[in-house]
């Protein structure tokens, strides 16, 4: 798996210390990998030895505490996931209910809405509509559910 030249560590060591044996020098001259490693090894060592850390590293106790707090938040989010899913399902069901009702009783609803004008109410003919009792019940139920979900959403936000 690892096809590093077996002499590479020795070549790097020699390049860093400057103490080359003849055989190692000959190998480095004939092995492109080792030659490249020897070329940059002293520079990399010198570069790494320049300690330029000017900031004190964060305290591990603070990191530990923050991580635990974040884990706690994540746990709360995980626990709230089923509630969020139910909420989304409720929105979808209500939206589908309204769409179905409007499609199913659109003409009757239009007549019923037209009848709800002040003139007709005054003459007492507003109730004479084509909307069936079932549709009326469905309408009331859907409206109630919509109001309940809206209230829940508002309270949850607060």
């Amino acid at each position: 798996m690892n096809d590093t030249c077996p002499f590479e560590p020795n070549v790097i060591e020699a390049a860093l210390s400057g103490q080359w044996s003849e055989s190692l020098r000959a190998h480095a001259a004939s092995c492109p990998d080792c030659a490249a490693a020897a070329e940059v090894a002293p520079w990399m060592q010198s570069f790494a030895s320049k300690d330029d850390r000017e900031h004190i590293l964060p305290d591990p106790a603070v990191l530990w505490l923050k991580a635990k707090l974040l884990q706690g938040n994540a746990a709360v989010d995980r626990a709230a996931l089923p509630i969020t899913r139910v909420q989304i399902a409720a929105y979808l069901i209500i939206a589908a209910g309204w769409a179905a009702l409007l499609t199913w009783k659109w003409s009757a609803l239009k007549v019923w809405m037209n009848a709800l004008n002040p003139g007709r109410i005054a003459t007492g003919t507003a109730g004479a509509t084509t909307l069936s009792a079932t549709a009326l019940v469905v309408l009331v139920l859907l409206a109630s559910a919509t109001v309940m979900v809206a209230f829940h959403a508002i309270l949850a936000e607060e």
């Binding site: 490249a36 520079w43 990399m44 060592q45 330029d52 850390r53 900031h55 590293l57 964060p58």
Partner: protein, 188 residues
């Protein structure tokens, strides 16, 4: 596999798979974390800093690295495994940062202005400038190979590349740095 490791990222869980079969590991407590952090954090910070050239960003990414490490519910296991996981996470975060800021290829590191350099040492600054001219992946390869002493397999894990590719990639990175040093008259 222990329950702790079940929630860990796949790479971390896999890294522990062999040791987990032997004995169940206890979850890491604060004392163990502190000991591990004190041993590794300095090296990880230097690695991130040499890759990004930005000390504030290095602080930020170091914290994120260890948050991710703790979020993976590490078990008290072989330090080498945990170290590898931390370096892999740090590398991913650095590369993600480069991707997000769209300056991953070829753009030199943002170095501090000259008036801030006086007390930091010209030589160090010049070395940083040379290193910054390499691609981020080349910087990571050279640092892991020459400073951390990582094997090709460990480098492959940290960079998310095939172990077989590391030899060629490392050779190219060394050649590129060698050429740059020769051009600038810094070669040994």
């Amino acid at each position: 596999m222990t329950a702790d490791v079940m929630f860990a990222p796949a790479s971390f869980a896999l890294a522990h798979a062999d040791t987990d079969r032997r004995s169940p590991k206890a979850p890491m407590d604060e004392a163990h974390f502190e000991a591990f952090y004190r041993k590794t954090a300095g090296g990880v910070w230097s690695y991130i800093y040499r890759l990004t050239g930005d000390p504030t960003l290095a602080d930020d990414l170091l914290q994120k690295t260890f948050f991710r490490f703790l979020r993976s519910n590490p078990a008290v296991a072989n330090d080498d495994h945990m170290r590898r996981y931390v370096y892999k996470t740090a590398t991913n975060l650095v590369f993600d940062h480069f991707r997000e800021s769209k300056r991953e290829r070829g753009r030199p590191i943002d170095l501090p202005p000259s008036e801030l350099r006086a007390d930091r040492g010209e030589l160090r600054h010049d070395m940083m400038r040379v290193f910054s001219e390499l691609k981020p992946q080349e910087r990571a390869l050279l640092w892991l190979a020459h400073v951390e002493g990582s094997s090709h397999e460990e480098i492959a894990q940290s960079l998310g590349v095939k172990a077989k590719s590391v030899k060629v990639m490392l050779f190219r990175a060394r050649k590129r740095l060698g050429d740059m040093l020769s051009k600038k008259g810094l070669a040994p």
